[in-house]
């Protein structure tokens, strides 16, 4: 049911009928004709999103065995399972555009496609797991909610499912931090340090400032993006500042101040040079994440082979029975 042959008679990037459908808030479906640029933008974005989900399993996965209680282990396992599932939804959505998951994984492993830089930061303490849930998932949800109205049907439907499932992720992170913040002095300090580590990287998850984001306008014209990077970042800050207060933790930005005139929280300047450095492979854990991913893929080869062998054996038995 996928659109492998839809490159025939492809409309131009500014095809009036295509843009009219977008303007009408209509949805594009896999077998529709669509501009090559639209298809390529979506493949790139959805694949990067899928890669982020499965790379994102690593920092938390490493804490499942060390989580401080059975309850916390079970919750963390459920969250990492969700991330695997979200990766699957997204690879499947990308495949409706005529690409193959196997190729997307190959491109990830070859370093030809990106994943979110946020997962290149380390999680040295249990409080980091709380900060990831609260801040990283909070930023992700802020980004993802508008994607449920993305112009490409399969991506939008996958995002509806993901947002619904993810609504527990942020809460469990908040709960971890709330518990630590109201615990011993050492626990409170641990929570504060984790927030100090994750605040700025979380703000960078929304991408460069609008005037530095060359593809944004096109994505917005095509209904892939609904809000600019800066709009979403501001929305996230406005939601998060009061939550930090409820946690009894401070956000590491001396310039944070409520602006009565605009009704928004003003925040300090973001050091994007760090972001670009991480994107370019120089983050604390880029090499480790990629090595782990490639290793997991290689170590999983026997599982795939075994499933193949089982299916083949089962099929030949069924054939034998039927004959």
């Amino acid at each position: 049911m996928h659109g492998n042959d839809a490159t025939l008679d492809e409309p131009a990037d500014d095809d009036p009928a295509f843009l009219a459908l977008i303007d009408d808030d209509g949805r594009v479906e896999p077998r529709d004709a669509m501009p090559q640029g639209y298809r390529q933008s979506l493949v790139r974005q959805i694949a990067q999103h899928a890669h982020s989900e499965i790379i994102g399993m690593q920092p938390e996965g490493s804490w499942i065995g060390r989580a401080p209680s059975l309850r916390r282990k079970a919750i963390l396992m459920a969250k990492v399972q969700d991330e695997a599932g979200h990766g699957l939804y997204l690879y499947a959505a990308a495949e409706t555009l005529g690409v193959d998951r196997v190729d997307l994984l190959d491109r990830l492993h070859a370093g030809k496609q990106k994943y979110s830089s946020i997962f290149n930061y380390p999680t040295p303490t249990w409080a980091d797991i709380g900060a990831i849930g609260w801040l990283v998932d909070g930023a992700a949800i802020t980004n993802q909610v508008p994607l449920t109205r993305c112009s490409f049907g399969p991506y939008a439907r996958a995002m509806v499912r993901i947002c619904k499932e993810e609504s527990f992720h942020q809460r469990q992170g908040f709960e971890i931090l709330h518990t630590l913040s109201h615990g011993t002095t050492e626990q409170h300090e641990m929570a504060q340090q984790a927030v100090d580590r994750w605040w700025w990287p979380s703000l960078m998850m929304f991408g460069p400032a609008d005037d530095e984001s060359p593809n944004s306008a096109r994505s917005m014209r095509w209904g892939i993006k609904r809000f600019s990077n800066d709009e979403l970042r501001q929305r996230f800050v406005d939601m998060t500042v009061p939550q930090a207060r409820a946690l009894g933790l401070t956000l590491p930005d001396p310039d944070l101040a409520y602006d009565e005139a605009t009704g928004h929280w003003h925040f300090g300047e973001i050091d994007f040079s760090e972001l670009f450095d991480v994107i370019n492979g120089n983050g604390p854990l880029n090499a480790e994440r990629m090595a782990h991913r490639r290793g997991a893929h290689e170590r999983g080869a026997w599982v795939r082979a075994a499933a193949d062998a089982y299916a083949a054996k089962h099929a030949s038995r069924s054939a034998g029975t039927a004959a």
């Binding site: 049911m1 077998r31 699957l88 499947a92 495949e95 193959d100 998951r101 089982y310 083949a312 089962h314």
Partner: protein
């Protein structure tokens, strides 16, 4: 469809008794049994369904989007198929 690896399966879930199966997405699996099992793990982790159907993507035939307008046109100009086409005298109910 996948050119390499496992075949692609389209997955349909019945959310609860009385409702029809609805398409929820797709996945790769070596056979139908594994496809059903994986679909359960992926699409019904929160009791979203009471029944799952999987179909090889290759077994689906779709109406062609290229001839979409012409194909569905016959329904377009038959307004008399709708009850609002008929005038009902004022005050007449249950019609």
């Amino acid at each position: 469809m996948s050119s390499r690896g496992w075949p692609l399966w389209e997955v349909f879930v019945r959310a609860r008794r009385g409702l029809a199966h609805t398409h929820v997405g797709s996945l790769h699996a070596p056979d139908a049994e594994m496809a059903v099992r994986n679909a359960r793990d992926v699409f019904t982790r929160r009791s979203e369904g009471v029944s799952i159907w999987v179909v090889p993507a290759a077994a689906i035939t779709a109406s062609s989007p290229d001839e979409k307008d012409a194909f569905f046109d016959p329904a377009g100009d038959k307004v008399y198929r709708h009850p609002t086409f008929y005038e009902v005298p004022e005050g007449v109910e249950h019609l």
